[in-house]
Amino acid sequence: MKLMRKIFSADKNVSYGRTIPGGIRPRAHKITSLRSRVMATPIPPVLIIPLNQQQGKASRPCVKAGDRVLKYQKIAEAADDSSLNIHAPSSGVVSMIQNHTTININAANQLCIFIETDGIDEEVPIPDTLDWRGMTSEQLLPVISNAGICGMGGAGFPLSKKIDSAIIPDIHTLIINAVECEPFITADQALIREHADEVIQGAQILQHAINAKRCLLAIESDKTDAIEALSNYADRDSIKLLLLDNKYPAGGERQLIQAATGKELPAGHLPAEAGIYVQNAGTVFSIYKAVVENKPCISRVTTLTGEALQTPKNFNALVGTQVSWLFDLCGIDNKTHSKSVAGGSLMGIELMDNSAPISQSTNCLIAGSLSEFPDIMPEQACIRCGYCANACPSGLLPQQLLAYSRCEEDELLAQQGLFDCIECGACSYVCPSSIPLVQYYRSSKERIISARQKKETSQAWQNRFQYHQYRIKKLKDEALSRTSAKPVIDKQQSADDPFSKEQAALEVAAAVARVKAKKGNVIASSAATDGSQSDGEPTA
């Protein structure tokens, strides 16, 4: 950082991020995979393309088994704005569409399109390149959305959704996240080192599309090669470099905003609501390809590293390539290989099945040895040393949360900010008693959410039952009144049938209102915080 300050002391286009509170400085394990240049993989014999690569809905396949597909051909369509268009990464024949293990945590076993590649790599005709500078944001955004790009930082937030929330007119800052603070991952660094021009252009396109006033490209100050590549472009237009102290998790979205602006994003708000839009460097590279070259997103730069690989390096790998095939490409040594991890060592997930394909959000694959990922130490007693609290970037007290997690004090957990935990794992990293703190928080979150859902479901069923009883009673009453009433009126009533649509709709609405009122009452009596103080007992 000091060195960088010296080098760029006179450069107005370089700014320095504030140091985030907490955080850790783990061993980086980055050098080995940065030794060689980014390489495109050969075409794998089979591509398994997951239909759900992001947080959102699965796409709908628009090809069927036996179809021949060409490279860049659309093979699945977005179901809504939370899902993606998916394009064939290479030419071949769709052999089947069935479930397969994938890396996505939200959908571990999901529907995938299997393509047996033919090695010809025949492309669909590509339209001419676009002049994005002459386009309005209304014209640009669909182009970007249709290219099927999702956030490539690891969490896999679909870009179209991110962009939707970004159209809020008062977006003023675009931050390109190339921080990559997590150990082992070097994909963004390698990408910028070798394709700085494209990344910068992608950032400019995005800035143009969302009408952001300024654009910051955030990167850790020790990534000298990438910074050098960028500094040739940084003075162009409005893109500024933001150099950050190398501290994990400075690249977390909320932490990055804090480092860049000095302000915290209010809890429960999206960055766009604060006028800030954060996008990963790999994503803007894909945007560049989608807009300038008119090619949809079919590949990404992925780091293959770990001591069990003979030649760790960054690959520009096709989406759908199997992990085991990539590992073989790097010469995996099965004797030293002990654990496969997708993502970095602090937030990644362990791969149980190496036949899983990579998706757009797979930024790193680690074939770790026992020395890199040692066996878990037995959990010891918490001595309340507070190292975890000092490491927490969110200002939580992990040791207190642990105590509450253990005795399932859900109310207290939520009060103390369990849901503000970003699961960065810094607390578990520093814990001298090797307590898997993050796992406790994850299971507590899951428990609280499922309990809440269960409560909601039972409430819904209760409402239905109450309405059911109300309806039966009403029918009975009406039957009674019909038999006792005069036949003339009966006829009139039959014209005004109680089961006619309008009548039914009205009654349903009335019943729902009553039930709602009752529900409000129940909630009010259980938790005095609820404002809807209604005494609307169902009168039926």
Partner: protein
């Protein structure tokens, strides 16, 4: 077995932390020994061996793995207890102290990490209440010369002996293990030693007599780095300060607790001190270096288990301890007060942890953190993009 992230871990374990704290005690122990003789070393040997035995017994009775001995926490408790018990105390004093610390205070409450109070300090207070005479007299071989004057040792000029000499060691062992005197040529002399040799800490001296050797020697311009300065307290305190700075450097402890204790004590003793008056308040110099302040601030109050944990809470915790040290010393009836003050701090710690919570990211004042209860699902999507 499937494991979840993080897969990479820091290397420091509880055992490492505890052993670093013990290592940081070594300069203080060395200076003490150099000054006062072997009493402290004997205390430490007795306390550590008995504490390890009690710890092992408790672990076995609680059906826990004996591997937990490797966390070195019993060892550290024993060392801290041994340092606070006056050198030259009899064996049963030390061993009953370590029994109270390990069994009563630590394991009965659920073992490591569960005790609400600092085990060494509870044991110290227990001994202070049960055996007040033994706990306030510092039995020192250096005082032997007056007693042994007419006994079998007449031929040896004790006054000329260094505190580290063989003869002194023999006497120290006799003081610690008085039953050995039955094998001794002149049992009377050994028993006599236990009763008579006493030496108070400078602060006690000052409180009782209005002046102390430490101040007298300072006024006389004597070098604190020689044994002739009368007491070794300043040097001992400075060496514990050195050990504490080592712990700070190693990031084993944070600066909050020691700094706020020392600053509070320094400021309040400065404010109350009136030069040339015959009050009992004592100078800041005496308060900081004339008693157990440094070891209390760096080694005892920073015990993580019983201390407050948040950084703000730690500062308030230190202020509370600093104020209590001063008020117990000056206005209380107990002579030295670090143990009582730390225990008082322990009482306050849970409350401090509750009220001085750090502000959670993205929340305004502390009160707002409850809002997550209503809209938690929004923050679920905030995975790190790194």
């Amino acid at each position: 077995m499937i494991t979840s992230s993080p897969f990479q871990h820091g290397k420091q374990t509880v055992g490492d932390i505890m052993s670093l704290v013990i290592i940081a005690c070594i300069p203080g122990i060395c200076i003490s020994t150099w000054h006062f003789g072997y009493g402290l070393i004997l205390n430490i040997l007795l306390a550590t061996s008995s504490a390890l035995a009690f710890e092992a017994a408790c672990l076995l009775m609680r059906h826990r793995s004996l591997l937990a001995l490797k966390d070195n926490s019993a060892l550290l408790t024993a060392v801290l207890l041994a340092i606070s018990i006056p050198p030259g105390s009899p064996w049963w004093l030390v061993i009953s102290g370590s029994f109270v610390a390990i069994v009563m205070v630590k394991h009965i409450y659920g073992g490591l990490g569960q005790n609400p109070f600092n085990p060494a300090m509870v044991a110290y207070v227990f001994l202070l209440l049960s055996f007040p005479l033994d706990m306030t007299s510092w039995h020192l071989p250096i005082a032997l010369e007056n007693l042994t004057g007419g006994s079998a040792e007449t031929d040896i000029n004790l006054a000329s002996l260094s505190p580290l000499s063989w003869q002194r060691l023999k006497l120290s062992v006799l003081a610690a293990l008085p039953f050995l005197s039955t094998f001794y040529e002149n049992p009377q002399s050994a028993i006599g030693m236990i009763d008579g040799m006493a030496m108070a800490t400078p602060l006690i001296e000052y409180k009782m007599a209005g002046n102390s050797a430490i101040l007298a020697s300072r006024d006389a311009g004597q070098d604190i780095f020689s044994r002739q300065s009368g007491t070794g307290w300043e040097l001992t305190n400075l060496s514990y300060l050195l050990g504490g700075l080592f712990l700070l450097y190693k990031r084993i402890i944070s600066w909050h607790i020691p700094f706020s204790i020392i600053a509070t004590l320094g400021v309040i003793s400065f404010l109350f001190y009136a030069p040339n008056s015959s009050t009992v308040f004592g100078t800041p110099y005496l308060h900081l270096l004339g008693s157990a302040t440094m070891i209390g601030a760096f080694f005892i109050a920073t015990d993580p288990v019983s201390a407050a944990t948040g950084n703000n809470a730690k500062i308030v915790y230190g202020i509370i301890i600093g104020l209590s040290i001063y008020s117990i010393r000056v206005w209380g009836s107990y002579l030295d007060s670090v143990a009582l003050a730390v225990l008082f701090g322990n009482f306050c710690a849970p409350l401090l942890d509750h009220y001085f919570r750090p502000r959670v990211y993205g929340h305004g004042k502390q009160g707002n953190s409850g809002s997550t209860l209503r809209k938690p699902l929004l923050s679920l999507g905030d995975k790190i993009e790194s």
